[in-house]
Amino acid sequence: MRPVTPLLCTSNPLRMIQYIIVFNRQGKVRLNRWFNAQSDKQKATTTREAVTMILTRKKTMATILEYHQYKLIFRRYASLYFAMAVDWTDNELNVLEIIHRYVQALDDYFGTVCELDVIYNFDKAYWILDEMIIGGELQETSRKAIISE
């Protein structure tokens, strides 16, 4: 019988997406969603800091940042950055895939999505996000299902 080993990730069993921020290269926020209650002031500070950190990353650097108690994982699509903050123990590579899946869904919906689509149809972008992620957890992985609904 092996000795009992602690789980590698017992410290924080929550493994959800904490918040999502979509912003452009100038740092203008295009979409944001918070899955845990925070005051407006906190949100503003977090957004500002996260955006600055991400925008100053060089291309060769990893797209995973350690930021406060979360990991910030981002991906850049043209001028838009999609960033998600996840719990420390979450699977970073999988989060990158989730981001990509969301962008694919946007692409399917808008045809060929660009920043302007997201700007003028931010409500639709939100609805697509809601079809995919609820309360920081993935809901639907099928692109077709996301779009049809």
Partner: protein
């Protein structure tokens, strides 16, 4: 005026009606101020519209408001409107209303309770999309109260036949049990049925729900172990399934679901052999069958590795897992070696995205849109270019070829697993070490942690070499931690002493400014303990110091060791430096010390070390010239503005008068026993200003003695009585001098000192009690303390001191006490106030007692325990200090001896026989103010006679402020000296710089001179 203009003006006054128009208007703004204005105007319009209960415009207004909110402007006034929209029967209104609620509200706001009812109604709606909206809102912002209220509805919807509703209800259930864990039981039976679902959406949400339950409750975990076979079957199906367009991500079927299943399996299999048994096969299948060339595959592999490491899996599987991590680290490397180019691997930063189906339709838009989207063609070209670049730079920057995010996750996981399976991780050591040079700081940090975890007896040489190489280029923020860890590792695993010394020495050389005191203390302990390597070490340190005196810790260690073992260095005669044999003479060592003292890197601590080391060398070196040089060097610091240094210099200078005891006093420090302390809490800086290493070692010796002394009650009583008498005597002295206001402060200090003195060194009082008979014995005691070894007999010194002490015995004991106090007071005054003047120059015989009284010259206990310093402070006390202070406080009124005036003064002007010298000093009351004593000498060398109508003016940079005191006279006779004081307030601590203007008339010729001189400032640390 044309019509266009008029219409534009009109339009700008009208409110904006559509969301699109608002966005356009905002985007058209050139400046942030414009944008604010537009938004303020629009917010006001929306507010008015809300107040008017305008139902038609509500939808558009809320949409606009949400956009405004997203840009970071206040929009809370729209909360109620969202509720109204939700209550509307129209789907579009409801949808926007719920979106607004999700964005504008959170679970902490009271308004949310009003939403509960609408949610309840909508959950029972016949339209599944409306039910979905309500569930989505609940899942995103549910508060504990809402969770309780709506639990029953969610439970009911979990059993719905509609997958769209089922999956949303499952996530609502997750949110509910996160907020109210007690409600878990309600969902268990429904959750069981969810994992048999065939719809991926329902399956993934169901697994999320079960994972959440298992983490919350161990009983549930046991319950769901039964589900392992089902989960394994699902996973197997996913791995072996053919292409399914709906869930395919670049050739992998639903990686998200795979990751979720793997994660749940991890919790279920943790510490359970049976469950593990069931999943071993499928884990091996996933680990081997998943393609690792893309991010998707790697995300699954990563999760698999975590699962394998967390469950009691087979050893073969574990090796497989570690190898996967190793592959992560090197995957780019392999790719380059095989020349695998153009495969579309996204390895160069994450700008490039894989997935051909996503990019195929993109070609037309590539350039128009920011030039950023990369299509398949350019994508490959870009990639090829990057790879060529990599070829060319491969040899210069080998680590460039790592996939950053893979490195990151792999390093992190290895960090977690290293405690479990060190051997397997060891194999990837080289790659990990390469990651130390990665461009990304997060990767460097992880790699560094890991490398320290990997050190053991076998690889300590190799790894330390690598780490030392990295230390040279490491970021400053890593350095302190690294030096500590390297030294600790060397301490733990050192194969031999010589290697250990070499390693620490190298650390000191490379990052001497980032070494913690404990490490330095440890090094000195190590050197002292390895007597066989003294010659080697001292030569090495000497060579290192000759090469570089900019690393503080290296200087401290070097100076200490050379001071201690200077004789060994000279006896060795020569040392090898890069194959060259060089001679070391006593003069060389002294000139090295001199360069340290004068050098730009010297600070107070190094100067203290050097002074003490010089003194030690005076007994190590036999050459008369060297001793003379040491005396000169010490003399140079007798008037130092740093009290501690001044004190040491004066005391040591005086020690030269006692050649009988000097060699014994300056004996080598005893070899410390064992380890004093390895690593304490960070940042003890409280007792700076003394050589703390000594303090620590001597402190131990001293403490042992206190223990012995405390037992003697009579002695303690006496000492307290003695303190009382001392205080009275001291008070008297001060009152006579008319400095009553200082007495209070001094008293506090003195009482403290006295208490300390009697607690730590009761010897003088014991001596009082027992009289001359014990003097011999006491002397032995003292020598014991002085040499800190207790058994150095020092016979030669005995006769020299004994007469002095016995003659003193005949004096009035009161006198003697005052003397003691005087010695102590000198130190106290120096530390506390600028104007104390005790005349403690007692008769020459009082030396020993002065010493005892002055044995606590500084208020830090650690410093007080420094036996060498305290013993030497016994010698006749500190007149230069008082002189110096008198000079700074009243420089005009008192003529100074020339030698004093020359000390630390700088010539600013010398023409026509008039010399102007500046003597800077920092004001003790306000260190920002420098007071500069100006001395006008007229040496008459120009034959011009007296200088008349002297007018001296000065200007300082704008950051400083200047105050001129009146000069003592505007006439300087030949051979005379006149004085003036200026005070420079320098809050920014910028370098002092003066522009001087001097005008005077020469008496003999009557010529009027008007000169301007620049004074470039005083050398660093000169005052």
């Amino acid at each position: 005026m044309n019509i266009d203009k008029i219409s534009q003006q009109l339009l700008s006054k009208l409110p904006i009606y559509r969301l699109k128009d608002l966005i356009k208007a905002i985007r058209a703004c050139k400046t942030a101020a414009d944008e604010r204005a537009v938004i303020q105007k629009e917010s006001a319009a929306i507010r008015t519209s809300f107040r008017e209960e305008n139902n038609e415009a509500r939808h558009a207004n809320v949409a606009k408001l949400l956009y405004i909110h997203m840009l970071g402007y206040p929009a809370h006034f729209g909360q109620m409107e969202c509720l109204k929209l939700v209550a509307s029967p129209r789907f579009a209104d409801k949808r926007l209303g719920y979106l607004g609620i999700m964005l504008l509200l959170d679970e902490n706001q009271e308004v949310l309770t009003l939403v509960t009812n609408s949610l309840k109604n909508d959950m029972n709606h016949s339209n599944m999309y409306i039910v979905g909206l309500a569930l989505c809102t609940l899942g995103n912002i549910s508060s504990p109260e809402m969770a309780r209220d709506l639990c029953a509805e969610v439970e009911k919807l979990l059993g719905s036949s509609n997958t769209y509703i089922r999956k949303k209800a499952a996530l609502c259930a997750v949110r509910i049990i996160r907020r109210v864990p007690d409600l878990q039981e309600n969902f268990i039976s429904k959750a069981k049925s969810l994992i048999n679902d065939r719809n991926h959406g329902v399956l993934i949400t169901g697994i999320t729900l079960i994972t959440e339950m298992c983490l919350q409750n161990a009983d549930t975990l046991v319950l769901f172990r039964k589900a392992v076979p089902v989960l394994v079957r699902h996973l197997k199906n996913l791995v072996t399934a053919g292409f399914s367009p709906e869930h395919d991500v670049t050739g992998v079927t639903d990686p998200f679901l795979q990751v979720k299943i793997l994660r749940l399996l991890r919790f279920l299999g943790h510490d359970d052999a049976e469950a593990t048994e069931a999943m071993n096969d499928v884990l091996a299948q996933v680990a081997t069958n998943t393609e690792s060339s893309k991010n998707v595959g790697n995300s699954i592999l990563y999760e698999t590795v975590l699962t394998i490491m967390d469950i009691p899996s087979e050893s073969g599987l574990r090796v497989l897992a570690i190898n996967i991590l190793g592959k992560f680290l090197s995957n780019r490397d392999n790719n380059i070696r095989t020349g695998g180019l153009g495969q579309g691997r996204c390895a160069w930063g994450n700008v490039i995205c894989e997935g051909p189906e996503f990019w195929q339709c993109r070609k037309t838009r590539t350039v128009s849109f920011d030039g950023g989207f990369l299509v398949q063609g350019p994508h490959q070209r870009y990639f090829a270019r990057k790879t060529q670049h990599a070829y060319s730079t491969l040899y210069r920057h080998p680590p460039l070829h790592f996939e950053p995010r893979h490195s990151y996750v792999a390093l992190e996981t290895l960090n977690k697993t290293v405690t479990i399976d060190t051997q397997a991780v060891q194999r990837h050591r080289n790659i990990i070490l390469d990651c130390l040079r990665d461009g990304d700081i997060s990767i460097r940090r992880r790699a560094l942690e890991l490398s320290f975890a990997l050190i053991n007896e076998q690889n300590v040489r190799v790894l330390t070499r690598e780490l030392l190489a990295f230390l040279e280029i490491a970021d400053a923020e890593f350095k302190q931690g690294m030096t500590t860890k390297i030294c600790l590792a060397a301490d733990r695993f050192a194969p031999n002493k010589r290697w250990h010394i070499d390693t620490v020495l190298r650390v000191l050389k490379l990052a001497g400014n980032y070494v913690r005191e404990e490490i330095l203390a440890g090094f000195i302990r190590l050197v002292a303990q390895t007597s066989e390597l003294h010659q080697y070490t001292v030569q090495k340190l000497y060579a290192a110091l000759k090469a570089d005196i900019s690393q503080e810790s290296l200087v401290l260690a070097g100076v200490w060791v050379i001071g201690e073992y200077g004789d060994v260095l000279i006896k060795g005669g020569s040392f090898e430096e890069e194959e060259l044999v060089k001679e070391v003479t006593e003069g060389d060592v002294l000139s090295l010390f001199d360069s340290v003292l004068q050098g730009p890197y010297a600070n107070q601590v190094t100067r203290e070390y050097v002074i003490t080391a010089l003194m030690k060398l005076s007994s190590r070196f036999t050459d008369y010239q060297a001793t003379a040089q040491i005396k000169v060097m010490l003399q140079g610091h007798v008037a130092s503005h740093e009290v501690e240094i001044q004190q040491r210099a004066v005391e040591y200078t005086n020690l030269f008068q006692y050649d009988g005891i000097r060699p014994a006093v300056l004996e080598r420090m005893p070899v410390p026993e064992g380890r004093v302390r390895e690593v304490g809490g960070a940042g003890e800086g409280a007792d700076q200003g003394r050589c703390r290493v000594w303090g620590l070692i001597c402190g131990l010796v001293g403490l042992g003695e206190i223990g012995g002394m405390w037992g003697d009650a009579v002695c303690v009583d006496l000492s307290i009585a003695g303190v009382g008498v001392l205080v009275v005597g001291w008070l008297f002295c001060l009152c006579v001098e008319g400095r009553v206001f200082l007495v209070c402060i001094l008293l506090m200090d003195l009482l403290w000192f006295a208490a300390l003195a009697c607690s730590i060194r009761p010897e003088p009082f014991r001596y009082l009690e027992t009289g001359t008979e014990r003097s011999r014995c006491l002397l032995m005691d003292l020598m014991g303390v002085g040499t800190a070894s207790g058994n150095v007999p020092a016979p030669s010194s005995l006769p020299a001191v004994k007469p002095a002490s016995t003659s003193h015995q005949k004096q009035d004991s009161m006198d003697f006490l005052v003397d003691i106090f005087g010695g102590g007071g000198g130190g106290a005054a120096a530390a506390s106030a600028p104007a104390p003047t005790t005349t403690s120059q007692s008769s020459s015989g009082a030396g020993l007692f002065d010493l005892l009284g002055g044995s606590e010259p500084s208020p830090t206990p650690a410093a007080g325990l420094n036996s060498l310093a305290s013993l030497s402070s016994a010698l006749p006390s500190t007149p230069p200090l008082q002189q110096q202070q008198r000079r700074t406080s009243q420089p005009v009124s008192q003529a100074q001896p020339v030698s004093q005036a020359q000390q630390g003064s700088y010539e600013a002007y010398n023409r026509n026989g008039l010399r102007i010298r500046l003597t800077p000093s920092r004001e003790i009351a306000n260190p920002n103010v420098t007071s500069i004593a100006v001395a006008f000498h007229n040496d008459g060398s120009a034959g011009a006679g007296a200088v008349l109508e002297l007018l001296f003016q000065a200007a300082v940079p704008k950051t400083q402020k200047l105050q001129m005191m009146p000069a003592s006279s505007n006439r300087v006779e030949v051979g005379g000296v006149e004085r003036q004081v200026m005070r420079v307030a320098n809050p920014n601590q910028t370098p002092l710089k003066l522009r001087l203007r001097v005008s005077y008339v020469l008496a003999n010729t009557g010529a009027k001179i008007d000169d301007i001189a620049e004074f470039g400032g005083f050398p660093e640390g000169s005052f």
